[in-house]
């Protein structure tokens, strides 16, 4: 294993799904249900059984719109306000209208959602305005349940293949993708009528405070490959300057987690044990207050549970130590932290792109279509804001159905064979050198400069220096990066995706000359929100080989927002501490 081999084969399918985490399996499943005769390929860099953000399951739904508790209109309004107004509401409304049907479908797969003594869904309030949080008692079984459905529907699963570039036809339509085996370096050309990108967040962008490259909030496999592939295919990417930054357990870099512990009575405090924010829901405005408190004399910040009954804490531990990030119990044990006795020290995460929690993603409409014909995106990498796991499932379903419908009525696009040869040369260049710089060093340096120069508060001169450093790293990457086996080859490709994302983060952040989304885009020289000039999306894309940015109007709202409601998320700080 891992020895570099020569090889190139071609596979033809109708619908290609790239990424087998959350959105991808649902997209593949729905495509196959829509067109049972179609060939649906699900490509995954790891193994679909245990891949992506929910490799170990999930403790609950953060954004369930359940009749009787919330309406699609309310939810659309909440997310529009939480995202500072920069929101095309159609995809959010579509999600909100369909997610209950997806919950019922997941329930049918054997994934259970918590019910109260009356048999109704036990929905909790965590957001600023409405109630959308629903615990999942057997959330550790999510991946297994999905995998069973994929096998039953005969979706063709290709594990350990990493897509490196998308192929487009002469007419601009999507034609498929090129992939490389992560254990043998053999190439696969996948021709497809439609392609759905579900490659997750760019979670390996900033460097965690621990300095450990793999100690990220996101599954460290999520290195932004989808963002990079979409960019190189010419797709539009939206609001990348709206970074993902989360409040996490310091050093462990996992959620603490306010959504699980909050409904039981836990809350965020400063070192004096006092609350300083009104609402623990992860918004940029909340993160700004969190950052301010960290920097103040009242820092650091803690999650407080030690006022709760021991049995209540036992219930919280039963969830937190079993699902999503179960090793957190071991982390606390090593430091002798018992939730009953001590508050948990918190910190802010490294920066990343992830629409699952913020809004930085490949631009999509309400059918999950990108701006490249035949190319779709769903999940953390698509631009539907704050869409979390249920958004990945629901928008994955939307993408799968639409892509299957389109594929049923078109032929394969032709691709240029020279594109494949060029891509093989690009990928394999690092294997031809005897000597040079290994991918982990190039990655470390890129990510350290991301922290030094791109992290908010954002400063123009720093970001420009960052760009200059990234350009130097790119030269090193192209002239001197070296790998010794197929595994390191995968890491070299990831390092390239990370560098692409770092350049996009700097470019997008420099473009928007205002502050918005709280900490996510806090520009020191432009401290105010400027609706006159910047009530719009920023769109980044590659044109004629160069990175470009432009404004795109926010689509007229479907659900109107009153003037008095617009600033609800700006009022996060508890008054007596202001």
């Amino acid at each position: 294993m891992d020895e570099i081999k020569n090889g190139l084969s071609e596979v033809v399918c109708d619908i290609l799904v790239i990424g087998g985490g959350t959105a991808g399996p649902m997209a593949a499943y729905k495509a196959k249900r829509h067109s049972p005769g179609a060939r649906v390929v699900l490509l995954e860099k790891a193994n679909v059984k245990r891949s992506g953000a929910i490799a170990m399951g999930m403790d609950g739904l953060n954004n369930a719109v359940i009749p009787g508790y919330a309406t699609p209109e309310q939810y659309t309004k909440e997310i529009t306000i939480a995202n500072d107004g920069i929101c095309d509401q159609a995809p959010v409304y579509k999600y909100a209208s369909r997610c209950f049907e997806i919950i019922q479908e997941l329930d049918g797969f054997g994934i259970k959602f918590q019910k109260n003594e009356n048999g109704d869904f036990d929905v909790k309030k965590v957001h600023h305005l409405g109630s959308y949080v629903l615990p999942m008692p057997n959330g550790d079984t999510v991946k297994k349940a999905l995998y069973r459905q994929l096998r039953r529907e005969k979706v063709l699963i290709s594990n350990r293949y990493m897509a490196t570039r998308l192929l487009t036809g002469r007419d601009g339509r999507i034609a498929g993708a090129i992939a490389v085996n992560t254990r043998s370096a053999e190439f696969l050309v996948l021709r497809a009528k439609t392609v759905i990108l579900c490659a997750g967040a760019a979670g390996r962008l900033g460097l965690p405070q621990s300095g450990y490259l793999w100690g990220t909030y996101e599954n460290a496999t999520n290195s932004g490959d989808g963002y990079a592939m979409a960019y190189h295919a010419g797709a539009a990417l939206a609001n990348l300057e709206c970074y993902q930054i989360n409040p996490l357990i310091k050093d462990y870099n996992g959620p603490a987690c306010a959504y699980v512990a909050g409904p039981f009575g836990a809350y965020t405090t400063n070192s004096e044990g006092n609350r300083f924010i009104e609402c623990d829901y992860w918004s940029g405005q909340m993160m700004q207050e969190f950052y301010n408190e960290l920097q103040s004399g009242k820092g650091p910040v803690f999650l407080k549970l030690n006022h709760l009954h021991s049995d209540t804490i036992g219930k919280i531990e039963a969830v937190l130590h079993q699902v999503e990030r179960p090793s957190r119990g071991r982390f606390h044990e090593n430091r002798g932290t018992n939730y009953r006795e001590r508050m948990i020290e918190m910190h802010i995460s490294e920066i990343g792109f992830c629409s699952g929690h913020s809004a930085s993603g490949v631009y999509v409409d309400e059918f999950a279509r990108t701006t490249v014909p035949g190319l779709y995106a769903a999940g953390d990498m698509a631009s539907v804001p704050h869409n979390y796991m249920l958004g990945a499932f629901t928008n994955g379903a939307v993408a799968g159905e639409h892509a299957a419908e389109v594929a049923a009525n078109i032929d394969l696009a032709d691709y240029d064979a020279a594109d494949v040869i060029r891509e093989q040369q690009r990928v394999l260049a690092v294997t031809r050198r005897e000597d040079g710089i290994p991918p982990n060093q190039l990655e470390y340096k890129t990510r350290r400069f991301v922290n030094d120069y791109l992290q908010p508060p954002k400063v123009t001169a720093k970001m420009k220096l960052g760009q200059a450093r990234f350009a130097e790293i790119r030269e090193d990457m192209e002239s001197a990066m070296v790998v010794r086996d197929a595994h390191e080859l995968m890491r070299s490709l990831e390092a390239a995706s990370i560098l692409d994302c770092a350049e996009m983060a700097a470019f997008a952040s420099l473009f928007r000359t205002e502050s918005r989304w709280g900490l996510y885009h806090h520009r020191v020289e432009y401290p105010e929100k400027n609706d006159d000039d910047w009530f719009c999306h920023s769109i980044l894309r590659k044109r004629d080989g160069r990175m470009t940015a432009e404004k795109r109007p926010v689509a007229p709202y479907i659900v109107p927002i009153d003037e008095s409601e617009r600033s609800a998320y700006d009022r996060q700080r508890i008054r007596q501490h202001a």
Binding site: D2, A46, G52, M56, W214, A220, S327, N334
Partner: protein
């Protein structure tokens, strides 16, 4: 530039007495999202080849004999 090896204490530990990789089991290698585990040619047992761990635990959870333990990487501990 010549390449050197820097030692690291790896977080994933395999109990070789319990590991049945020599009987053909590859579960931990298959399920690792970061693909950092391998079967040793020397011992026939699973081991952590690459120090690139997200301490996510499928390897430990899915191991049929309870041979795998995931520790928190030292830098985070």
């Amino acid at each position: 530039m010549p390449i050197a090896h820097t030692p690291t204490a790896v977080p994933v530990v395999v109990d070789e007495a319990k590991c049945i990789a020599d009987k053909g089991c590859t579960v931990c290698v298959d399920v690792c999202p970061l693909d950092v585990l391998r079967i040793s040619d020397l011992t026939g047992k699973a081991y952590m080849k690459y120090d690139e761990c997200w301490y996510c635990m499928p390897c430990e959870t899915d191991c049929p004999t309870g041979a795998v333990t995931v520790n928190i990487p030292y830098l985070l501990r």
